[in-house]
Amino acid sequence: MAVKLPLRFRILYLMSTKKDSVKSEDIMKELESDYGTEGQFKKKAMDGHLISMRALGLIEIADVSIDEKDELIEEYKISELGISRLKYLPKEYKRA
């Protein structure tokens, strides 16, 4: 893939390729190789993107649980609105 997408676009694209829901940590792992060296690539910032994208309706909560550290773990999937926004991605990111 030629152009690197803005992080938020990439998160949405990643979710569009997944059948199952994803956690913040999963996204971090998958995008590590492309964005890992950048200052913006932090867990807190990632959580912030996800919670805003959910409020805006681009993604939905698929499941939520509490882990052993008593932290809330959300699992997200792309919403219909999110899918409709994929048209803004560059050609090489569009799927048939």
């Binding site: 152009v3 690197k4 997408l5 803005p6 992080l7 938020r8 676009f9 949405l12 950048e38 200052g39 913006q40 690539f41 910032a45 993107h49 919670i51 805003s52 994208m53 959910r54 409020a55 805006l56 309706g57 681009l58 909560i61 939520v64 649980s65 509490i66 809330l72 959300e74 609105l81 926004r85 803004y88 991605l89 560059p90």
Partner: protein, 330 residues
């Protein structure tokens, strides 16, 4: 507390933070305006050959320097690479379009309105922009707006009008009606900006969006508005400003203005365009408060009554954060 309750609590917390950003955007915009008015009282802005020169050049410098501050901020938080990536996408281009409505149309109209019709009228009229934005956001963004939120928006606008109202002085403002028309244009520009950026910013990081917004606005001023309206004289004033103390004052105003824009765009992202705009216009109240503290603006009974109306309106807008969890109707 079960899992669902914790999730709801977290989401309400996010929405409430968005409301706080909205208020912070109003406070910093109010302070930025007062600081700009101090700069306009200094050389070279007092020596303009045309009545319109200083406000436009000042607005251009404000946006340019604010863009620089925001870029520094994004450099520190590691987002500077996002500028180039974002601008190549359609939502990124929408942010540039929003910038043209907000900067060259909104800000110039506002500055010219202040010059030609006086600050009270310009402020009162431009404060209608959230209503314009709210109407547009219902249709364009499909945002949910309750009756209570509408009452809040209208009450805030009424408050701004009360705060700003003083009888017109025909002797001081010979181009009064042109000023009123330009202030109306500014309100339309800002309302449109909020809605377009709400649309583009589903996908764009708000902090990056503001950086692009300020840079795009400055570029339009620098390559189109200034040369078309003033020619070389405009550039000469910018150059002159760089050698005087007024530069430092504008740097402070731009820092506040850039910060205000970050808060505003974050609020749009977290709490919706209509509510963010309604909280943003509390700037009318803040500018009175800061004007009183910094440059000795007089506090009158109408200021207090109007101020209360603005505050009550803002509270109504943000009263029930529960309904903010889903910003859009399905």
């Amino acid at each position: 507390m079960n899992t669902t309750e914790r999730l709801e609590k977290q989401e309400i917390g996010h929405a409430k933070k968005g409301l706080l950003y909205g208020v912070a955007s109003g406070a910093s915009w109010g302070l930025s305006g007062v600081v700009m008015s101090i700069a306009f009282g200094m050389a070279p802005f007092t020596e303009g050959v045309s009545l319109l020169l200083a406000p436009i050049v000042g607005a251009a410098m404000h946006d340019g320097l604010a863009g620089l501050w925001v870029f520094l901020y994004n450099l520190i938080n590691g987002k500077w690479r996002e500028y180039g990536r974002t601008i190549r996408t359609k939502p990124g281009m929408l942010v540039c379009l929003a910038a043209c409505f907000g900067g060259p149309i909104g800000m110039s109209g506002y500055m010219l309105g202040i010059t030609l019709a006086g600050p009270s009228y310009a402020l009162a009229i431009t404060a209608i922009y959230p209503a314009i934005g709210a109407i547009l956001s219902v249709f364009v963004l499909k945002e949910k707006i309750s009756v209570r939120t509408w009452i809040g928006i209208l009450l805030s606008i009424a408050g701004v009008m009360v705060v700003s109202w003083v009888p017109p002085d025909a002797g001081m403002y010979p181009y009064f009606y042109a000023g009123i028309a330009l202030a109306c244009l500014a309100a339309i520009g800002w309302g449109t900006e909020g809605v377009i950026s709400g649309f583009g910013m589903d996908m764009v990081d708000p902090e990056v969006a503001v950086g692009i917004r300020e840079a795009a606005s400055f570029s339009v001023y620098f390559v189109a508005i200034i040369p078309i309206m003033f020619g070389v004289v405009g550039y000469q004033m910018i150059a002159a400003a760089f050698t005087t103390t007024s530069l430092w004052i504008i740097l402070i105003a731009a820092l506040l203005g850039g910060g205000s824009y970050i808060c505003w765009y974050k609020a749009i992202n977290m709490t919706g365009a209509a509510r963010a705009m309604a909280l943003n216009i509390t700037y009318a109240l803040w500018s009175v408060l800061f004007g009183w503290l910094l440059i000795g603006t007089e506090i009158t009974p109408t200021l207090i009554i109007g101020g209360l109306a603005i505050t009550c309106g803002a509270i109504l807008v943000g009263a029930n954060p529960k309904e903010l969890i889903n910003l859009r109707s399905k």
